[in-house]
Symmetry: C2
Subunit: 138 residues, 2 copies
DNA sequence: TTATATCATTGTAATAATTACAAGTAAGAA
DNA sequence: TTCTTACTTGTAATTATTACAATGATATAA
């Protein structure tokens, strides 16, 4: 995805497209992984030598509150960010730490008792051991 | 739930029923909330004056690995522990922080692509604003 | 264009949850 | 009892994250 498209996406959501924001969002789109703030910071530092960790944190908070990213707190260690906006579930391997996406529709989950609640975010998070790690220990 | 039942439950899972472990598990059962380590520590300190935070952390780790509790990382601030073993979903209000349970069966969620994975834990975590907080701002 | 106000970025210092580690204590087996 | 193992404790260290104040950039209005 090129900078112009990213810029458009930011504007659409009402977020001012600063250079730093563009690069962070671009990074989240290009690498389909689930990086934490530190990973993003270190990845962008070479091309933005003045970048600050605080900026990365600020940026991610802004993105989250404007619905540009999805926050994942899976193992309690750190917060991961997901730029993929199509709904899906997550699986984290507790052997290698890798996070996998899988297709599922969280809207089909019923929430008895929460009729008067305003549900803003739906996360489906499974954990276990991934196929890769299962094979390693065979 | 009395100490003997808790003791039995610990033994069944292969965990040695020390006094501290019994009280922590009992606390998790009696208060159906979703406390973090600090809350548990402070609640038990009066009756176990020698209790250490480290013990609470250790105990919770042991419980988690033996399937006696479920760990919840919802907002990235801390880890909450749930002693309710029947399957259910969680909702956290990001206004008041309160966590609610709701009935749902995570086993009915399909996981295409994860056929060869070993899924050990299934968490359904929704966030938003609870009915209480919605009313406050009316 | 210039002045002004607002918003974004930066760096440092503080905070808060959690872990590492070493020493002490309790409990079960021989 | 003695020995061994496992559990608990307290302190110090670590790590992710936030608070905050100063600086820099951008947009708007005169």
């Amino acid at each position: 995805m090129d900078s112009d498209q990213i810029t458009q996406q930011l504007k659409q959501k009402g977020v001012r497209p600063s250079y730093q924001r563009i690069r962070v969002l671009q990074y989240l789109h290009d690498r389909a992984g689930h990086p934490n703030a530190e990973e993003i910071y270190e990845a962008l530092l070479p091309e933005i030598p003045t970048l600050s960790r605080t900026t990365v944190y600020n940026t991610l908070h802004v993105f989250a509150s404007f619905g540009l990213v999805n926050c994942l707190s899976i193992d309690g260690v750190d917060t991961r960010y997901d730029g993929m906006l199509e709904k899906h579930g997550h699986f984290q391997c507790h052997q290698c730490g890798m996070i996998y996406n899988f297709k599922t529709d969280p809207d089909r989950i019923e929430t008895p008792g929460l009729e008067k609640f305003k549900i803003e975010n739906k996360n489906i998070i499974f954990t276990g051991i991934c196929a890769n790690c299962i094979n390693k220990y065979k």
